[in-house]
Point group: C2
Chain length 143, copies 2
């Protein structure tokens, strides 16, 4: 799989470096991780990488379309490797957990704005807010 990452990097003419492979590996194993977690995971493999390197890599990969950045209101940036499939996310208001949700309607009808105010729209992002199973249990027990 490392060779796969390598191919993907070359496909977008990015140089193949250890930090980049390590970041891709971390994202592949852990969906929806925040930057700090990526740094920790990467350092398990390469203890010397700077936080700056991780930020740079994440930006390079995001710009190249190899990873997707998601940033629900009030949370820090998170990254995932699933890309170009128009899937959405459920976010837990309590613990911040995130899960993937496939778009129910292929080309969702409501995702075409009724009045676009002259904007040229290229993407519709959906975030479902609620509580994850664990937090729901916690709340009902608590009361």
């Amino acid at each position: 799989m490392t060779s796969d990452f390598e191919a993907r990097l070359r496909a977008v003419s990015l140089r193949v470096t250890r930090p980049r492979l390590a970041v891709m590996g971390a994202l592949g194993d852990h969906p929806h991780v925040d930057t700090d977690t990526v740094i920790t995971l990467v350092r398990e493999e390469l203890p010397t990488v700077s936080h700056q390197a991780v930020y740079d890599v994440l930006r390079a990969l995001t710009d190249a379309g190899l990873v997707r950045r998601i940033q629900p209101a009030g949370a820090t940036a998170r990254y995932e490797m699933r890309v170009r499939d128009n899937h959405h996310h459920v976010v837990c208001r309590s613990c911040g957990a995130i899960a993937d949700v496939d778009c129910s309607a292929g080309n969702a009808p409501c995702l075409t704005a009724s009045d676009d105010h002259g904007f040229v729209i290229d993407e519709a992002e959906v975030v479902y807010w609620g509580f994850c199973p664990a937090c729901v249990t916690k709340r009902s027990e608590g009361t």
Copy 2:
């Protein structure tokens, strides 16, 4: 309208204070403003309010459901008074301009997640990304 604001504050048992009325006035006149702009606007009326007061007021009003906080990825928090009508937003990738978009389908079909992973969902937030008329013009002229 100040008396209206007063009534709304009392309705949620919040004290009526000058800073709060000033913030509500500012939000009423300027939709989708960020915190810094609110501070500036409020100080035109009450030059002595601290930034902290504005943050406190915005939080109090948001918690009480009198204003809505919107925070597109990569931008600072913005606030608006339109509330409880499930409308969404178009955000310009270039200049950050925001416009309102009414939900095209009353109870949008795609807003029911296909697989909720056990989450209890209470809200679906939609953000349309694109370019505003001004930035579209700028781009086509530039090239």
